[in-house]
Amino acid sequence: MADWQQSVRGLSQVAAEPSYLSVCGLTKSYGAVLALDNFSLDFVGGQCTVLLGPSGCGKTTVLRSIAGLISPDAGRINIDNSAVFDAAAGTNVPPEKRRLGMVFQSYALWPHLSVAQNIAYPLISAGLSKGEIASRTNAMLEWIGLAGLGGRYAHELSGGQQQRVSLGRAMVAKPRAILFDEPLSNLDARLRERMRLELLALRQQAPFTAIYVTHDQLEAMTLADRVVVMRAGSIEQVGSPEDVYKRPRTRFSAEFVGIPNLLEGTVRSVMGADLVVETVVGAVAAHGWRSDWSPGAKCTVAVRPSLICLRCQEATDARRGSIIRSVYQGTSTIYLVELDGTQLAVESLSEERHAPGSTVAVMPVPGAVFAVLDD
């Protein structure tokens, strides 16, 4: 399979001019269910913004509103400073006039058209000349590594190839932005991994404006310039992948980026945003999102399983717990440790194995603990 990382030829034909998008006050309800609640966000031109959240959080509603497939009840959507949707002014540019590209979870390739015809479709809609349609279609086929397969039909291609066709079709007409609606969730784990890296390479070659919707934190971390964690129709946290991963703002964000350890504690001392919190693993230094903590207040801290040390022998001031269960994962082992009635997941890279029932000392890595906001 040809690799698009190597075929830079024809790049000028597929690279899009990055556009700037902004949505403001977007609200949409379905009956009694509020899918979007006054949602506002700027999408920086040339960047990939990932909307991350569980199903039903409104992320797809945002995407489909931007595409023009859904009309929100209120709010405004601008592309390059011109409104494509404005509920107050009654503006609603239909999807075919918004000049966007979209990659669907279901691929949405037209089964009655060949691969080349699928890719040429947006160019035909744009009314280009036959010659230009042919040359741009061929350049795109080559770029997505499917040169020579233009005559095939979608059902004759593998899942990964179909997703590339879908991507080629979304990009070929040089859209102002490309919208991705969980594009990798239909692929098996190995292919998903590879497509994720290919998408990353593609973005680095042609920095188009991308809005990417997913519930997979790994995809979000890899592909995002900026991650937007969404919950129940509003924004929970916005930040770089590293920010969101290392410093989740709320309990919800922490759980969603894969931190199962949320420990209840009591604030002992406060110095700006730095706290000392008394928890089941002892007094730990924690960094907080707000600075108005006061000593004695209840506080939840989050700590990643991989950032807790397991030490059996060393007698420090670390608390001791007993191992309930161990799960071998190859590169690491996950231990479920119980301390004073609280269960804690600890990930250990050490080759040394601890049997269930044995007593271990646990201690968070300094600087790894974060005080999160309760919901």
């Binding site: 497939l69 075919e96 000049r99 979209m102 669907f104 009655h112 479709y121 809609s125």
Partner: protein, 211 residues
């Protein structure tokens, strides 16, 4: 042979016209109504759906009486013309066409239409370039069915025709009661040929193979 019997040629023309026009109207109307009911989900979608099932349960002859008693009251109306027959055929058979077209439209994932909109086609272009090609087997199949059903329909038309709008099926009944067998054979043969001809031509386009 054909022209020895004065009724044969005009009634064959009437039948052919009604079958072609009736089948085409049924399918075209079914596409529009299915789109309204399934995709637009308009305010009257429920009512339309109900109205589209209702004629299935009404016997042809009763429907004929209904149409007759309505249009006979309209001065300068279509009573006594071929148009009233066309109207009756379309009314009686649209539910079946709706079932075909509706289930075909249900089978088209809306992502395929959304992708077309984003790729720059308005909804009219989307129907033309995506939905109609994908529904092709159902459209041709239902057109053929409408065509042959209208061609041989008798209960509906028996009360609505007059001497200037005789169709083959009614003409056949006529000569049957007069016991004139050679003419009866001509009518039967014509019905058979007219019925089989489009089936022979179109059946291969109604297959589901994505060729």
């Amino acid at each position: 042979m054909l022209f020895e019997y004065p009724q044969v040629w005009p009634s064959a023309q009437h039948s052919l016209f009604l079958a072609l026009a009736g089948a085409t109207c049924c399918v075209a109307l079914a596409i529009a109504l299915a789109w309204y009911v399934i995709r637009m989900r308009g305010r009257f979608a429920g009512a339309v759906e109900y109205a589209m099932v209702l004629p299935l349960g009404i016997p042809g002859i009763a429907l004929g009486i209904g149409i007759l008693s309505l249009w006979i009251l309209v001065p300068g109306g279509i009573y006594g013309t071929l148009w009233i027959l066309l109207l009756a055929y379309v009314t009686a058979h649209i539910p079946v066409a709706m079932q075909f077209v509706g289930s075909a439209l249900h089978g088209i994932h809306t992502d395929l239409e959304d992708a077309s909109r984003i790729a720059g086609q308005a909804w009219t272009g989307t129907i033309r370039r995506v939905d109609i090609p994908l529904m092709r087997p159902a459209l041709i199949g239902s057109w053929l069915l409408m065509y042959v059903v209208i061609l041989r329909e008798i209960s509906l038309v028996i009360l609505l025709y007059n001497p200037s709008t005789v169709v083959l099926s009614v003409g056949l009944m006529d000569v049957w009661s007069s016991g004139f067998y050679p003419e009866l054979a001509v009518f039967s043969l014509l019905l058979l040929v007219l019925g089989l001809a489009p089936v022979a031509v179109l059946w291969k386009f109604a297959r589901f193979a994505p060729d």
